[in-house]
Amino acid sequence: MVEELRRDLAEARDQQAATSDILRVISSSPTDLQRVVAEVAESAARLCDAYDAVIWQADADVLRLVAHHGPIEVGPVGQFTLRLVREFLIGRIALERRTIQVADLQTEIDEYPEGRDHARRFGYHTQLGVPLIRAGEAIGVIAVRRTEVRPFTERQVELLRTFADQAVIAIENARLFDETREALERQTATAEVLKVIASSPADVQPVLDAIAAAGCRLLGGHTSILRLLDGDAMRFGAMFSSTSTSPEVAIRIRQPLMVSADAVPSELVAKRKPVIIVDTETDHRISSANRDIARGRGYRSFLAVPLVRGEAVFGALNVSRREPGTFADKEVVLLQTFADQAVIAIENVRLFEEIAQKSRELEIASQHKSQFVANMSHELRTPLAAILGYAELMQEGFYGALSEKSTDALTRIRSNGKHLLGLINTVLDIAKIESGQFSLNLAEYALDSVVETVRVATESLAETKKLSLKTDVAKKLPVGLGDEQRLTQVLLNLVGNAIKFTDTGEVRITATAMNGHFTVAVTDTGPGIPPEELKRVFEQFHQIDNSNTKAKGGTGLGLAIAKQIVEMHGGRIWVESTLGKGATFQMELPIRAEDRKGPSAS
């Protein structure tokens, strides 16, 4: 009894020591699965008083040897596998997810025929195995073996279960770590491809190259090739290879592939699903010519995924590997993700080109329009010159004396003709602005004489409306540098508008100079401009929409041109107004202007 207690105590102590050893290894190297399971196997063999311990990990339909400690031969760790079948004791433990002990495996011909052969061949008798259970699934088996017939005690069985739990933790740790690392790699690669897509909106090649490279690297491939469907053929798009490629092979890879002549692209196009070739040597979809290529290049398996847009396949991305074997689901998903990114990139470039093409067409159309307007204005001015010329000669008496009524009629003809000429010149100015031909003729000018010219030109108009037209020009203004004719045009427009929209009161022109700038203001006592219109009055074709302005007419272009002229002088123009109390149009001009190319008014 005492002896038994002492033994229990010793076992418990050993068990605790072993457990803590293993936990220390697990926590110090969570990623080194090999080292942890080796430690578990060693402790299990020692503490269960076995000669030998093995750990197997389930891998699809086999059990792979991942650790072994002891003299009984098994096979190379990491490579040796057993079929996952009931005929092996290990297989049955995994399949039935329960602990099984067989006192003498060498005699178990009925239950474990394969296990018996194995036990006989390698010379062991008693074997105890515990399944490695994670989330109800057997992910492997830990087993201890003896070369004689000597069953393990209940306590040793319990001990082995503890080791089984530790092995599960170790395997699970390593798996989580791998998954995290893979996810991170995937994310990094995806982010890199997206970065390339974003940085080359006009050129798809860098994106295709990045995708081929990422696909090949992440799947541990031999070579990755991206092809684009062009009619009946797959045209070369991009390639990445982990090995060097001879010039002859590179040329052959760049040849278009006839889809109908090749089973794999045919299948991709028809089914729009990934195709896996587990072994190029045995797969009937590989032609003998392609098999030769695979041999020459040194690959045995590959995965191909389609590039799908809408319902149609328009390309393929494939990754080959040196070894035969299938591709994991997550690898297929990953490669498909890259293929989808290629689709996005290609679509981006197509849209980009479409927009660029459209805007080129628009620009050409706009230039044609501007040229047409310029030509048209010119054509309109020629007959107008004849009308104005003859009217003037007639009025001046070149064709004989005229009655008062005839003289009056000729005055009206000439006045309307000049108005028409003004409109044509306005349209021509806009056409010049739009076609970038609008420029300034800079020369020295006197601002007071510009004001005086405008006053003289608009005097009679103000008189007709019984408005008082006043000028308030500072004394001794400096000599300006600018386009006098254009500045006169601007001021004429402002004063003309002020007179047009004011029915009673006055229109005043003020001019001052300060800090290297002229300030010219035109103030009226008209109806004023609503606040929401203050900025928009300088837009092309914009007219304040009310019955008053409609009755006054105009092209709605004068202020847009004025703004352009002032800005080309490096100045600015704006309006301040209180509804019902009139408006002040003001411009600030550098006294010495430099011609700056005006922004296109489009």
Binding site: T382, A385, A386, L388, Y390, L393, F398, L421
Partner: protein, 124 residues
């Protein structure tokens, strides 16, 4: 002595205005309808002043002015260029070709008359 003015202008209506303006003001008028004709008439008619349109068929006004100014006998004859171009650089181009004055269409006939009289040294 009646002074002679050569009008080089392809548009009949505009030629008509100048013809009426100038004959009505006491000048003799010679007419040409294109640039080459203008150069030939300048040589045969030996005018006192030339009004030269710029946009002309066969050879344009710039070239016609250059050829006339290159003629030793015509070098001193004042040429007034008349153009409906009003783009930047048009006046510079006309002056570079050798014209003595530049007006843009549409011009006032009476203002043009004042300029012509100025060149001919007459009372304006």
């Amino acid at each position: 002595m009646t002074k002679r003015i050569l009008v080089v202008e392809d548009q009949e209506d505009l030629r008509g205005i100048l013809r009426d303006l100038l004959t009505g003001s006491g000048y003799e008028v010679a007419e040409a309808v294109d640039g080459r004709d203008g150069v030939a008439k300048a040589q045969s008619e030996r005018p006192d002043l030339i009004l030269m349109d710029i946009q002309l068929p066969v050879i344009d006004g710039y070239e016609a002015i250059r050829q006339i100014k290159a003629d030793r006998n015509l070098k001193a004859t004042p040429i007034i260029a008349v153009s409906s171009f009003a783009m930047k650089g048009d006046e510079e181009k006309a002056r570079a070709s050798g014209c003595d004055h530049y007006v843009t269409k549409p011009y006032s006939p009476l203002q043009l008359l004042r300029i012509i009289r100025g060149f001919l040294g007459e009372k304006v």
